[in-house]
């Protein structure tokens, strides 16, 4: 499937500024694989406080980016509201942070399902910056129609 730009992502995800955490979807195979990009810039509001002298992306926001990329697993190009019709609730997160993320980094988030049923999913998510893994783990979330 063709990459999704930000307009298409916004049709699928309800999140908006300042918490829309993916900029582009570069690979998408429904229910099989999502690769999404998040560009991290010094203009992100949280860098003002995290931390004033030493900007580092908060780990929970990397998790949020992983979660939003995971939702895109359910995206279908033919059905515009395929994703928005449902609600997604994170149930459990087991993530290890391996390297810090700084302004200027481009996060590449790869999500693959471990188990998907009609009402919930468990996925593996890996976030990389450059050639380094910055975080990886498993997210469980429920899907309610």
């Amino acid at each position: 499937m063709n990459p999704l730009n930000i307009e298409e992502i916004q049709k699928a995800l309800p999140q908006r500024y300042p918490i829309l955490m993916i900029d582009r979807v570069v690979e998408l195979e429904r229910n099989k694989k999502v690769v999404a990009i998040k560009n991290v810039t010094i203009n992100e509001s949280y860098f003002g406080g995290h931390f004033p002298e030493e900007p580092v992306m908060p780990g929970v926001l990397i998790i949020e980016a992983m979660a939003q990329a995971s939702i895109m697993l359910f995206y279908s190009a033919e059905k515009e509201n395929s994703v928005k019709e449902q609600s997604y609730y994170l149930g459990s997160v087991k993530v290890r942070f391996l390297n810090p993320v700084f302004p200027g980094d481009q996060l590449k988030i790869t999500v693959t399902p471990v188990k998907v049923i009609s009402s919930a999913a468990i996925v593996n998510a890996v976030a990389e910056a450059g050639n380094k893994e910055v975080a990886k783990g498993e997210l469980t979330f429920s899907v309610k129609g």
Partner: protein
Amino acid sequence: MQDIENEIRNIIAEIVEKDPSQITPEAKFFEDLGMDSMMALEILAAIEKKYKISIPEEKLMQLTSLKDTVAVANQYLK
């Protein structure tokens, strides 16, 4: 048989974050162990991964105790 029960007990204990001794064969996942439906799915996925089997979604509702879970797993194990 006993081995499978013990292995599955350890899987459950890790997911619900309880001591394996608390996971008796009859202890009810939801009432006694405070489990939620997503933990049940995690148990299903962990069993599938460990034994390289595939358990259909309908069986999820039957995972209500260690005893029942072992019974479901045994249906798909050689």
